[in-house]
Amino acid sequence: MSIWEYANPVKFMKTSSWALPWVSVATVISLAVGLIWGFFFTTEAMNFGSTVKVLFVHVPSAMMAINIWVMMLVTSLIWLIRRHHVSALAAKAAAPIGAVMTIIALVTGAVWGQPMWGTWWEWDPRLTSFLILFLFYLGYMALWGAIENPDTAADLTGVLCLVGSVFALLSRYAVKFWNQGLHQDSTILKVGEKDPLDPSYYIPLVICIVGFVLLFVTLLLLRTRTEIRLRRLKALEQRERMA
């Protein structure tokens, strides 16, 4: 019993078809509990009013946006080294989910920023590096779409993912440097600093994060299964044409 068993598409399909309903139900439950708790049963923060509740969508989606890229990096590496097709297809399936998570994080951030900062968009390091991450997702998906041969596409997007990871990280720190240089006295919000995050927010937030992770797993399993079926369909079509 090892993890590499799931590199076998048949085994993957079998296990995922068993797991999918459970994960879906867990997703719905945790998201429902976390979001309803977060939106309706937490007090309004002193300086932020009801806008603080954006937190319960914004933070999990932002976390997932980064984590999904890391997951794509790992699966791309597995594909490039061990050439398991399921791995490459999982990376392909994850990219649009990651892009959507990035959009959710950016949009909820803008919705929060309008009343709080008085602006929809600020060239803050965090915001800017997320925009750049979104561009990387776009480029990755566009490269998948542009190449016809699936193995070539998997190889090239894998290499792009590796190089992109390095540069996404590099941009993250470069952007930090750039903004400090541009306007020192800007009102930079430090989301990462959880100074006095009230315990009453903490539990629903954790539940929401779990919910988003589960949501990603559900969507990923679904999309990977679709990709595998698509690949099978193409193989069948090809066999028919040959016969």
Binding site: I132, L135, F136, L138, G139, A142, L143, A146, I147, T152, D155, L156, V159, L160, L162, V163, G164, F167, A168, L170, S171, A174, V175, F177, W178, G181
Partner: protein, 218 residues
């Protein structure tokens, strides 16, 4: 490898392959910017480093898709891949040829364009230094994008989508270096970062480009 470099340079100069075109494009960008933002020297001087860098970026991007595409079509890329020279070396030489035909003219012509853009007099030295240090990274990263899209029929637009995000760190530190130089501020950090990024890119990215070409030639 030197023969390959000379061949690429000759092709670029004689076959109308972009030599000087990048410079002309740069000139057009610099000419159009004052129409867009107004002719006041003060504003132009302030945005000049950014505009010059963006112009360099776009001029570099213009000629990228030709790096491998022509060789791929007439089959000489297959020959180069099977040649005794390692493919990583070939890629590096290609990037060098690309830099000599697009990056180097920009570096040389930068003072003239700086003059047109009312660049502050303290910034000229830093502008040239930043371009000289930064543009090699642009060329090497460009060959990576070109290697990814070499098999595609219409890869031009995709190429820019893939390559431009990779230019972000170079652009940030390059423009920052010029801006700080213009205001007589400490230039050490952006200078070292810019040079470091370029050195790392030259050292590492050719391996990725060569891997991509091997996949595309398979």
């Amino acid at each position: 490898m030197i023969a390959l470099l000379l061949r690429d340079l000759r092709l670029a100069v004689r076959a109308g392959g972009g030599f000087g075109l990048g410079l002309a494009f740069f000139l057009i960008v610099v000419t159009l910017v004052p129409f867009g933002v107004g002719p006041e020297g003060q504003i132009l001087g302030r945005i000049a480093p950014g505009i010059l860098w963006l112009g360099a970026l776009l001029a570099c991007l213009l000629s990228l898709d030709r790096i491998f595409a022509l060789d791929f079509e007439d089959g000489s890329l297959d020959l180069l891949a099977t040649a005794p020279v390692p493919l990583e070396g070939v890629v590096t030489i290609k990037a060098l040829a690309h830099w000599i035909t697009t990056g180097l003219p920009l570096v040389v012509a930068a003072p003239v364009f700086g003059l047109l853009m009312h660049l502050e007099s303290t910034a000229y030295f830093w502008m040239i230094l930043a371009l000289a240090l930064g543009t090699p990274a642009l060329s090497v990263l460009g060959t990576f994008g070109a290697a990814l899209t070499v098999g595609l029929k219409r890869g031009g637009l995709l190429l820019s989508l893939l390559v431009l995000p990779l230019y972000v760190p170079t652009l940030i530190f390059g423009a920052e270096l010029v801006r700080r130089g213009a205001q007589n501020m400490d230039t050490n950090v952006p200078l070292l970062m810019l040079a470091g990024i370029t050195a790392a890119v030259i050292a590492v990215v050719p391996f990725a480009s060569a891997a991509a070409i091997r996949v595309n030639l398979r």
